[in-house]
């Protein structure tokens, strides 16, 4: 049986009776057993997956109504709650935390008969872009295991790329879905802010983070969006998409569309092979009937500093709840004074989380807020105005997803600024709430390059149509695992 198929192919094959959900799940588990020792995408596996698949097969055979996922194996980033399942956030702080409820995206996928094959690795509390900050060790890039897979949703990207599932859910705060998608040659989608409920996503920076799918194809990303978007009474930032069907008319193409090339995202520091791939992608977009023209968004230069200032501030607040009283690990309260107990309990946070908590305490503090936090909010505001202005002229914007190729594990871990700058092309979509996608585009020296398209808020359908058109021009080799 071929497990190297897309989510939509899987659904068609199961529906037509060519394959059973049970056989596919069994093969997928076999694949995980064969490759995951090397790749370390998974933090935990669903031991009931085969049984769940059998039940779905029974439902199909008896003619009962079955959800659109038909037993599809989906991996879930380990910061999204699945009831009665460990949700660790790749942190020792939550190593024994069992989620008492389902995230809304999980409820929706359960209703569609998805099978959650396992929980996948991330940088601790999603703070990072390589998975090197996971308390359980880094994931490895399936294209070359000496290299980082990107992050923070690195486990999601690895599991899709290495055929350990057919799709995954990650979360994207500053590029955490698109960056690993680019590094591992999968599709990664960051929706318009509010399109997908964050209820049950363990909070890092609420004002900008979004759950998003990582898939093999753009069509699969559209399929996943159809299942998980919409208003949620448990998340009052969700927006009404009026039941939009993102798969319908996905073949519409981009004839006559105007595309802006963001000058600041192809400038200093870009890898020559990434620049060359980006120029090639722009030619392909023009070949598909679009008009491409350079545009300057000068606030992009300040976006990374603004992003880290805002996210650290929100993280400082969100992580204050981890005092080991309401959440945490087994550590007795006996013999401790209140403050020293919490100090000791917080030693379970890894070094990056600790640093960001302290940053988050400092940048909005009295005497410093004007210089850092308030200025960051002003940059966010001006960047949003600039991009809104750009969308009066252009339908879409294009850039490389990441300006450099994947790098070796350990290469940048001691250089926080070098790590910050890996995010330079992705944080703009988060700060401004715009939808963005990374499309696998090229391979250079055996390492993947992704192209990013950005659309205006609620133009997710147009974005998927354009990404699908570009994707069809690309033929990439299979991942060498």
């Amino acid at each position: 049986m071929n497990i190297k198929i897309s989510a939509l192919q899987f659904a068609r094959e199961v529906k037509s009776g060519n394959i059973s959900a049970e056989d596919f799940i069994a093969k997928t588990i076999e694949q995980i057993k064969n490759v995951d020792d090397k790749l370390h995408a998974f933090l935990s596996l669903n031991n009931d997956a085969i049984e769940q698949a059998k039940n779905i097969d029974k439902k199909i055979k008896s003619g009962k109504k079955v959800g659109q996922c038909l037993g599809m194996p989906i991996s879930i980033k380990d910061n999204i709650c699945i009831k009665d399942t460990k949700t660790t956030c790749a942190s020792k702080m939550l190593e024994d935390f069992i989620a008492p409820y389902d995230a809304t995206v999980i409820t929706k996928l359960k209703q569609q008969d998805a099978i959650f094959i396992g929980k996948v690795n991330l940088d601790e509390f999603a703070m990072g872009l390589t998975t090197e900050f996971s308390a359980y060790g880094p994931s490895k890039n399936p294209w070359n295991t000496d290299y980082v897979p990107g992050g923070s949703s690195g486990g999601s990207a690895v599991s899709v790329s290495a055929f350990e599932c057919v799709a995954s859910l990650g979360s994207d705060t500053g590029g955490s879905v698109r960056n690993p998608a680019s590094f591992c040659s999968t599709v990664g989608y960051k929706p318009t802010y509010g399109l997908i409920s964050r209820y049950g996503l363990i909070s890092y920076a609420n004002s900008i983070e979004q759950i998003g799918p990582l898939t093999r194809t753009v069509e699969d990303a559209a399929f996943m969006l159809n299942l998980i978007t919409g208003i949620d009474p448990y998340d009052n930032t969700t927006v009404d998409n009026h039941g939009e069907d993102y798969l319908k008319d996905i073949d519409s193409g981009i004839e006559g569309k105007k595309i802006g090339i963001i000058k600041e995202m192809i400038g200093d520091g870009i890898d020559p092979s990434v620049l060359s791939a980006t120029k090639d992608a722009i030619s392909k977009l023009e070949g598909l009937g679009a008009t491409c023209e350079e545009i300057s968004l000068d606030m992009v230069k300040y976006s990374v500093a603004a992003y880290y200032t805002i996210t650290a501030t929100e993280a400082g607040s969100n992580l204050a709840r981890y005092d080991n009283l309401r959440y945490g690990y087994d550590f007795s309260v006996e013999g401790y004074e209140f403050n020293s107990y919490i100090e000791k309990a917080r030693k379970k946070f890894g070094p990056e989380v600790t640093r960001r908590m302290i940053l988050g305490g400092f940048v909005p503090s009295a005497g410093h807020a004007g210089k850092y936090f308030l200025k960051a909010l002003k940059v966010k505001n001006k960047l949003t105005r600039q991009i809104d202005e750009a969308f009066k002229k252009f339908d879409l914007l294009v850039s490389p997803t990441v300006p450099i190729l994947p790098f070796k594990i350990g290469e940048k871990i001691d250089d926080p600024i070098a790590l910050f700058l890996v995010d330079i092309n992705t944080v703009t979509a988060n700060l401004t709430g715009k939808p963005a996608i990374s499309i696998p585009y090229a391979i250079s020296n055996g390492l993947p390059i992704g192209i990013q398209l950005i659309a205006n808020s609620m133009d997710d359908k147009l974005l998927l149509q354009a990404a699908h058109a570009l994707e069809k021009t690309v033929k990439l080799p299979e991942v060498p695992i």
């Binding site: 500093a305 309401r326 946070f349 305490g361």
Partner: protein, 87 residues
């Protein structure tokens, strides 16, 4: 920039024990990078916030949890969270 004293003060307020010898130099580098915001020329810029109408908030009503949520805590007594002594 941040001084060592300021960092220690913030850490104390956040109840974080500093035992990583590299933390100061690393945070200093990060904060140093944030100084780029000074040249963004945004002093006159307004700050806008996302507005959520009260009508969008769900009804504030008690929903009984179908399990004994308190049992999920590490330390509890009856229906109370058990915490270390404050005084």
């Amino acid at each position: 920039m941040i001084s060592k004293k300021e960092l220690e003060h913030v850490a104390k307020l956040m109840r974080i024990e500093l035992d990583d010898p590299t933390i100061y130099s690393r945070i200093e580098k990060m904060i140093g990078y944030f100084d780029i915001l000074d040249s963004a020329g945004v002093e006159s810029e307004e700050i806008s916030f996302r507005e959520i109408p009260l009508a969008n908030l769900r009804e504030d009503k008690h929903i009984p949890f179908d399990e004994k949520l308190i049992e999920k805590l590490n330390h509890y007594k009856g229906t109370y969270v058990r915490a270390p002594k404050m005084v």
